[in-house]
Symmetry: C2
Subunit: 193 residues, 2 copies
């Protein structure tokens, strides 16, 4: 018999989300989370740098999906078009089955500013890596930064709407709507004087 059960991080994550959802984030200690799956506080902090991080583990997979989409764009595609492709390939990360889980997670995060900060940082990190990817395609600094940041903004708005109560459309559809709204607004905007 194995000395330790595998998937420690995953078990901690599941336990943490459940405890956070029932008792609230602040009234749940790292020790409690660890003990609820038969581990020690110290072990918890070996798997997650932060108490907050337990809710955000695995985000790098989303980042990779996004970047893959951008990298896969034809070389003649504009930076913004590459970003649009990135958004489409991110959609695979938000299938309908995942929505209930995402909603519980959202509820927890919405209740705690510290968790919101962490989420914003993950989003911002997405922005910088996306910028780097665009630059690697030969896009100049300003264009890459603007396209990537815009893309992250669209992603953020789309994700927020996707997890909203009552929303049933697919992520891809919502993202297309948000992106379309951006193009429409920018298209009819007054030029810089």
């Amino acid at each position: 018999m194995a000395r330790w059960q595998p998937g420690t991080a995953a078990r901690l994550q599941a336990a943490a989300l459940e405890l956070f959802a029932t008792r609230g984030y602040e009234r749940t200690t790292a020790t409690e989370i660890a003990q609820s799956v038969g581990l020690t506080e110290r072990t918890f902090f070996r798997h997650f740098t932060d108490k907050r991080e337990v809710l955000f583990h695995g985000q790098h997979l989303l980042a990779e999906a996004l970047l893959e989409g951008a990298r896969g764009a034809p070389s003649e595609a504009s930076p913004l078009d590459a970003v649009a492709r990135a958004l489409r390939s991110a959609a695979a990360f938000f299938p309908a089955e995942r929505r209930p889980h995402s909603r519980i997670r959202k509820t927890v995060i919405d209740e705690n500013p510290a968790l919101q900060e962490r989420e914003l940082r993950k989003l911002a990190d997405l922005g910088t890596t996306l910028t780097d990817t665009l630059r690697a395609r030969g896009v100049d600094d300003l264009a890459a930064t603007v396209a990537a940041q815009t893309g992250v903004a669209v992603f953020g708005v789309a994700f927020t709407r996707w997890v909203r109560d009552g929303e049933e459309r697919a992520f891809e559809e919502i993202a297309a709507e948000v992106y379309g709204e951006l193009l429409a607004q920018a298209g009819s905007a007054a030029p810089v004087r």
Copy 2:
């Protein structure tokens, strides 16, 4: 004679920035900051909810300037035009004299992820209040959100460039450049299929 000197928060802020810049953020304790101006740790935490917050006090003034700009836009202006106005009125907050101070602050923040998270949150808060302002002008939810988030993205990029080493142009000029780049990219983008 007054029992306490006025401007406690400002003195703590100045002391904190200096200590952070010399010793580094993490190796500076709240107690040290407080003692360096003859106060107690407890008093520090009465003025700032957080150790981080000492670097971000006063941000609400910037928010008010931004919102004032958006509110001042003519009623027939599009949401994005209102946002562009908000950006222009924010420029008053970044005169050339402020740049050296902003650069020191930036150095400190760049070194610490926790501080970056706080900065992102302030930016995000700007986004939500800007959204609310636009909605109060009668703009529908999607349009307001997209315009506001886009504006915040432009602001963020412009600010980052404004504090960059070697940069000497005024904030307003940089913001106009970034905003122009966005319009140019969106103008030539492929429409959503």
